[in-house]
Symmetry: C2
Subunit: 245 residues, 2 copies
Amino acid sequence: MASDKGLAAIRLFNRPLYLQVRDALVERIGKGDWKPGMAIPNEVDLAREFGISSGTMRKALDLLEDQRVLTRSQGRGTFVNDHSSAGLVSRFWRISAPDGKPMNGDAKRIEIVEAPANEKERRRLHLGAEDSVYRVRRARWHADRPFVVEEASLPTAHFPGLLERKGIDHRIVGLAQLYGILLGKAEERITIAPAPPSIADTLRVAPDTSVMRLDRLLLTLDGQPVEWRVAHCHLVSGFYLAEIG
Amino acid sequence: MASDKGLAAIRLFNRPLYLQVRDALVERIGKGDWKPGMAIPNEVDLAREFGISSGTMRKALDLLEDQRVLTRSQGRGTFVNDHSSAGLVSRFWRISAPDGKPMNGDAKRIEIVEAPANEKERRRLHLGAEDSVYRVRRARWHADRPFVVEEASLPTAHFPGLLERKGIDHRIVGLAQLYGILLGKAEERITIAPAPPSIADTLRVAPDTSVMRLDRLLLTLDGQPVEWRVAHCHLVSGFYLAEIG
DNA sequence: AAGTGGTCTAGACCACTCA
DNA sequence: GAGTGGTCTAGACCACTTG
């Protein structure tokens, strides 16, 4: 049978074929062979190219759609997601206006510095003693008021030459796309905390006002940490929207 | 071909076969034909019983596994999930201890009353003017301290005779299983709010202390609202864990 | 060894989009 | 009407669990 030969030849280390194919597709997208917004070849052609059945190719594509790497639409084709597009920029931003729509606001006062990773950063980002990070600090404004201060740490290894780049969007979603990093899941820990002095100042509230503290760790599709962010948020009208299920 | 006849006969209103099969399986589980923890027949037998191919049955079962209705394990079988089991009781409970494990605590002072739905309840739960609700109020304790007060509203229509039942777990997950309701998703809106007097009293904090307010709407698998719950939470050591992605 | 779910194939046909 | 993804079939074989 063809299946015997095919499986023996292709299925290394007992890892299912469709997973290997998914990884191969991810690599192509990460390398930039297929750009965000572009259509990729149809299922039958892809299957032929990989030497697998279309059912297996389909399973790989199903996975990538679940992981928000691709979007398929019947009759049109399969497209690489553009993570800077309206529908996806706010993927990890859970603060909503009263109407339920994401309240992004406008970023102001962006500061970026490079520094050796401190102990907390090394622990959260799984870094070694010699690794360094970019620290990004930013405030977001809505209706002429600052409502959140974000302080993010990013391993420099993932973003070579970041400081030299000019005029780019420093939100993690855009950065990841720029560097061909596909984002996976995030975990956000929410507490109530008194605003530290410098943050209270930026937010224009009295020191020690109770604000929402968001401690978020963002992972790539393969599970490597790419961003640790602590945000302090003074919500007057909106809310944090958590989806469970 | 067999496929022509089969499709024409079975595929009503153009709804995919695997979705119809999934719904049929859900109904059987809801009716109690298959009890939580029980194994259901194997895929081939099920497919034969429904007169479909095993691939299609598999797709239906895949969906039910995603929706946490079933658990499959290779070599053992397919089992109906027991939502009162350790792994699933805390499915909608996002408050965690510092170690990351769910901090359930012990429920105390449970009060249940039946009342006509007020305006807010009617709006959130999609009820009509004549519908009524059960209102459940409960405090949870951890380490000899109350840390959260929950006030939930449940449409009486879903839980007939609830007040007469004795010695049952009044957490929504257990109630749903008791009444054959399969739970789907929830949306939780998180804000910081001053604790209302009666709640501050139960939580043993000064009135108007800033606490975390959790406003959660829980839906069934078919998208009907089954519980609207507002919790006020005074977290000393833990955090709310939101998962994104 | 028997029984289960998991993977994979090689098709056919349906539903949809767009030129 | 040509081209796309979506559904469905009828198998074979692999990996795993249990008696």
